[in-house]
Subunit: 396 residues, 2 copies
């Protein structure tokens, strides 16, 4: 069991799966490896972990985590279970893991996958906590599928109305895990025949994937919805298992465009009712998009019913970054790009790049007018229309 | 065209339909009657309408509205179109109206219907802005259907993520109108045959209604989705027409139970992610309830897709009374009933009575455990469980 990444969300997930492995020693090994990009940290004098013998000497973050069971840099003041083992070597951290949990910023993905390739168990299985899709003019690729194909394994996706620090503090919330168990992993008790165990599985378009899987050894515990439910669910973290990786991935990516629109509307001085209208229109466009480009595989109820659908939409549009900073931009009368420069230290808002990519993808197909809210966000980003113009887009 | 009721929501609706009738004189008569429960109002000296000649003499509210085109008592500072005509006589206000719009507090309904009976056009049609359902241990009755049956007419329902003062200020929002056009009103251009024009129509259970309708005269303009869309939609008020009165009515009533639960959770100190989980569970229970008791007629997508579904849920759980006061109760460590007494001047929170009625209805059928969130709200109201116990209800 390895969590790849140790930011606030990665460390939070390591905490909760480590609590679960201890509870289910019949299914999982106790220790959870957490790969940490090593860095030097100096503990301040007022830290409870300050050691006069060490003084101001910078220490390795992994050493601090393993000694004090706290990620002082990215998840301070949260006690981690002793079975979270910080490991600065990516290859060492992943080499024995049957379950790989991906949880780091999107921009590092290809570099990390390249380092992992050939150093993992051939029958490893993944769960991506990195939300979303990669959209180019030619293609939409689910991030979980990109991971799976790059490593030659199957990889599902976790997404929901989740804010890392709230979960770390054990405030209750829900999440959705999409895992379309490969036929070669289905056990006889699940009613599967052996005829499907040649490593074929269907991709997100419903076609046989080019990636042939190495089946999970038969003497291993199974890895299906029941096990992932056990691994991720906690008293404060309620898990719902689905098989629809498309709905979970599209919801996780496209809601960021809607959150930008909600920030515009609220920054403009409109209230909850207007914002709710934007959310609703946004959800209708996400579902239309899913139907149009993944007609064989989308299960719409994922978006209507699941935490990864409406749940994540609501949280993203009322309590998260894309919404907050686009609202700030309108309130200050500057562009969102300007806010990125002045407030975000060069960090980027995911919703802006997703808006650009999706708009360009739709334009390439002459479909931009079928998605008036997505279109409006790009037009407002480029200052070609005003927030006041949004309601007109929805008149008959 | 008559709006029955002149509170802040009633006056707001009178404003918007009066704007629309002026825009569509080919379809509607210009004047909109608004029935006002007459009362005396004294204008303060700093009112822009203060008249030294009248001084502190109390004046009739209807006279003030008709003179200054402002409902100074219930919707102050909002200019009404001159074609909103305040009328203190209910029977006079409704006698010539083909369209009756019901918009007053739920508790006055039977008294008002009794006064109207026999004084309306036999072919009048209604739209109820009074949300919801009446639940007894024996029955669930839609309020719009109750109105229709009491008056011997057909009555649809308007509901959505709407806050009256925001709409009065022309901030953009959306609404849903459910109107299941009676067969006798369908025109040949709609593809209807004359064989169905005997006044029969289906009730909310899908059975032939006991109420026989008098068809709209054939030389009258039609009254169908197109006309109601024209009547209610404004540049700042986007209307969606559906035929599912069940979904709209159940959403409008049961979301109040969920809003109470959201107040509990937020008052307890949990954040948006926990609240979103409650909303999602609540929506799943509303839909299960609709499937269980209106299996022939419910169109689930009304609740997933429409402003009267998820939209209204979000606004009710983040910006409205039931949520606000149940949150306050938990924050202050007192019962919601106590808050009703001390903060609401004896007014009642709809969500509490709906919770009681629905819980009792479900218990009568041995079904309360199928609706864990609805059950939890009643248990918390009676202080039989704590807010902390909510997540347990949803573990496998």
């Amino acid at each position: 069991m390895t969590v790849i990444g140790s930011g606030n969300w990665g460390t939070t997930v390591a905490k909760l799966v480590a609590e679960s492995t201890r509870e289910h020693l019949d299914v999982f090994e106790e220790d959870v490896q957490m790969w940490v990009y090593e860095e030097k940290v100096t503990l301040p004098k007022d830290s409870p972990h300050y050691d006069a013998a060490v003084g101001d000497e910078p220490q390795n973050l992994t050493a601090i985590i393993n000694k004090y069971h706290e990620n002082v840099k990215y998840l301070p003041k949260i006690a981690l279970p002793g079975n979270v083992i910080a490991n600065p070597s990516l290859q060492d951290a992943v080499k024995d893991a049957t379950v790989l949990i991906f949880n780091f910023p999107h921009e590092f993905i290809n570099n990390i996958l390249k380092q992992m390739k050939g150093h993992i168990l051939p029958y490893a299985r993944g769960i991506s906590c990195i939300k979303g899709v990669t959209v180019t003019d030619d293609n939409i690729e689910l991030i979980c599928e990109h991971i799976g194909d790059a490593l030659g394994i199957y990889c599902g996706a976790l997404s929901g109305a989740n804010i890392a620090t709230e979960i770390a503090n054990e405030e209750w919330c829900e999440t959705t895990i999409a895992y379309n168990t490969p036929p070669c992993d289905l056990r006889a008790t699940n009613g599967a025949s052996n005829g499907t165990s040649n490593g074929d599985h269907k991709d997100s378009r419903g076609q046989i994937s080019k990636t042939k899987l190495v089946p999970l050894p038969h003497d291993y515990p199974p890895l299906d919805h029941e096990e992932f439910y056990k691994l991720f669910s906690r008293p404060y973290f309620t898990v719902s298992m689905v098989s629809d990786v498309v709905g979970v991935s599209l919801g996780g990516a496209l809601k960021n465009i809607v959150a930008i629109a909600c920030g515009f509307v609220e920054g403009h001085g409109w209230n909850m009712t207007a914002k709710t209208a934007v959310m609703r229109r946004g959800m209708l466009e996400i579902i239309a998009f899913a139907r149009e480009f993944f007609p064989e595989t989308i299960q719409e109820k994922t978006l209507w019913e699941e935490s990864a659908g409406w749940g994540d939409m609501i949280v993203s549009c009322t309590a998260a970054r894309n919404w907050r900073y686009s609202k700030m931009a309108v309130e200050r009368g500057v562009s969102v790009q300007e806010i990125e420069r002045t407030e975000l230290n060069g960090q980027k808002l995911q919703g802006i790049s997703t808006s650009r990519e999706v708009s360009s993808f739709l334009r390439t197909r002459g479909l931009e007018d079928h998605y008036p809210l997505f279109k409006a966000v790009e037009l407002i980003l480029d200052q070609n229309i005003k927030v006041d113009d949004i309601p007109k887009l929805f008149r008959k």
